[in-house]
């Protein structure tokens, strides 16, 4: 219990970029365990508040299935419907298939509240935060060392766990329809910068590079994957057309 309270206190100070908090985490007996405890606790707490907020959001909007059925009923009354039907008798079946598929995808794409998904967040949110922390921590450690940093891997992971502190702002999702935008991500990156700068004793410029290079690497991989994916899709479309 003391560990959790201690981690919370460090997380709170880290939120306001207090270098002592990062230094305290670096020099603690078990920075990785302490960091992991903080991440799991924060993850579970924000997932619970998100579940409450999502339930309230769901209760505030009309039933999407009813909307879907009402719109479909009126589409059948549109003046163009009969004309299309005369020219393509199998159109209703194809249309209904795509209509249903659209309603499966678009509400999800535009952030319609999904209570089931929010409930799974109780497990997936801390898990996701921990995986992101490990991958980013490893890459940031490698880049920081390459740039002349002095901290070891467990110290790096410890200070970077404090970058999860801004996630507590997600408690505001307890209020339905509140959107934090880029705030949590930007604040988290700034915490990571202060953490890497403090733990590795880097100059500001090197600390900026150590913070951003893992993201740039991820971006390059994403762009390459997108190019490869679109090239395969393009080839498939061309092949299909010819």
């Amino acid at each position: 219990m003391n560990d959790i309270v201690g981690s919370w206190r460090l997380g709170w100070d880290a939120l306001f970029f207090k270098e002592d908090a990062y230094e305290g985490m670096r020099t603690s007996a078990n920075p990785v365990v302490k960091g992991l405890v903080l991440i799991v606790v924060v993850g579970v707490v924000i997932a619970l508040s998100n579940l409450i907020g999502t339930t309230l959001e769901w209760a505030s909007i009309p039933d999407l299935n009813q909307i879907k059925n009402t719109v479909f009923r009126y589409i059948l009354q549109m003046p163009w419907w009969d004309e299309v039907l005369r020219e393509a008798p199998d159109f209703p079946q194809i249309f209904k298939e795509w209509y249903n598929r659209g309603w499966d995808i678009f509400p999800w794409l535009f952030g319609a509240p999904n209570v089931g998904k929010a409930a799974t967040g109780i497990i997936l949110t801390p898990l996701g935060l921990a995986i992101r922390w490990l991958i980013y921590g490893l890459l940031a450690y490698l880049f920081a060392r390459w740039l002349g940093g002095t901290a070891d891997l467990s110290e790096t992971l410890g200070v970077l766990a404090l970058a999860v502190a801004p996630q507590v702002l997600n408690l505001l999702s307890l209020l339905p329809f509140v959107n934090l935008g880029v705030l949590v991500s930007v604040w988290g990156v700034l915490c990571a910068y202060v953490g890497l700068k403090t733990a590795h004793k880097l100059s500001w410029g090197r600390a900026v590079w150590a913070t951003l290079l893992p993201f740039l690497l991820g971006l390059v991989v994403l762009i390459l994957a997108t190019c490869l994916g679109s090239a395969i899709l393009g080839a498939a479309v061309k092949g299909g057309l010819s």
Binding site: A59, D63, T70, P79, L172, V182, L190, S230
Partner: protein, 245 residues
């Protein structure tokens, strides 16, 4: 409290001593967050009230029909494609509208589990808070970029102190309180924006020790760099699509 308000007011009129006073206050970063949140929430009060009223009032079908008619009239007046429309197509469009209006009426009748007023209140408060939180996110993101440029230009400041100093830029944004007033609102918004940039430059100069010219460069360089990056990415994306397809 009155001392704080006085200091903040004097920063708006670019009083050097006020900037120094603000810089000397403890927990500058936390003060910056509170300042941005409070000013954004106050500036968004009228917009929040208008939005809330719109959310709470029942759907006015006559008004919707009027708006559709007005937009059609505008299209027929200004859009050449609509002016050359075949009479059959126009008739079909009119008939489609005859279906859409009752559809909107039926959709408005679908009830949510919570009463309409509670849902509307949640929605209104949610958007109001979201706008203020976005302002905090934007302040941190842009502030970090400006600090990088300021450091490259020879200035120096600690991240939390710097962010706390530049948070002063938000005060002229209070003019946004009158944003929804027709004509005058936009003008006051523009004045608030320009004034905010001037305060930002002054705050950068005071907190990093840069002269005014370099402070202006530090403030505008990230905007120019981000704009160029967006254009470059758009060109690359379009080029790639042309090559692939």
């Amino acid at each position: 409290m009155s001392g704080l308000v006085n200091t903040l007011f004097r920063t708006v009129i670019l009083d050097n001593a006020a900037y120094e006073e603000w810089r000397e206050r403890p927990n500058l970063f936390l003060r910056g967050i509170v300042l941005i949140l409070v000013v954004s929430l106050v500036a968004g009060l009228v917009t929040f009230a208008v939005d809330l009223v719109n959310r709470l009032k029942p759907v006015d079908l006559d008004r919707i029909e009027e708006q559709i008619d007005e937009s059609f009239e505008q299209q027929f007046k200004w859009n050449p494609a609509w002016q050359d429309m075949e009479p059959e197509a126009q008739e079909m469009m009119d008939k489609t509208m005859d279906v859409i209006v009752p559809m909107v009426a039926d959709l408005a009748e679908i009830q949510a589990p919570l009463p309409h007023s509670v849902g509307g209140l949640f929605g209104g408060i949610g958007s109001w808070l979201s706008r203020a939180l976005s302002a905090v996110g934007g302040w941190m993101f842009y502030g970090a970029l400006v600090l990088i440029v300021a450091n490259l230009l020879g200035g120096s400041a600690r991240l939390p102190d710097f962010l706390g100093m530049v948070s002063l830029y938000v005060i002229p944004g209070l003019l946004g309180l009158l944003g929804p007033v027709p004509c005058l609102g936009s003008l006051l918004g523009l004045i608030g924006l320009v004034w905010g940039i001037v305060v930002y430059v002054k705050a950068v100069s005071v907190s990093t020790g840069l002269d005014s010219g370099k402070a202006v460069l530090a403030v505008f360089a990230p905007f120019i760099a981000l704009s160029l990056l967006a254009v470059l990415l758009a060109i690359l994306g379009i080029t790639w699509l042309i090559i692939v397809l």
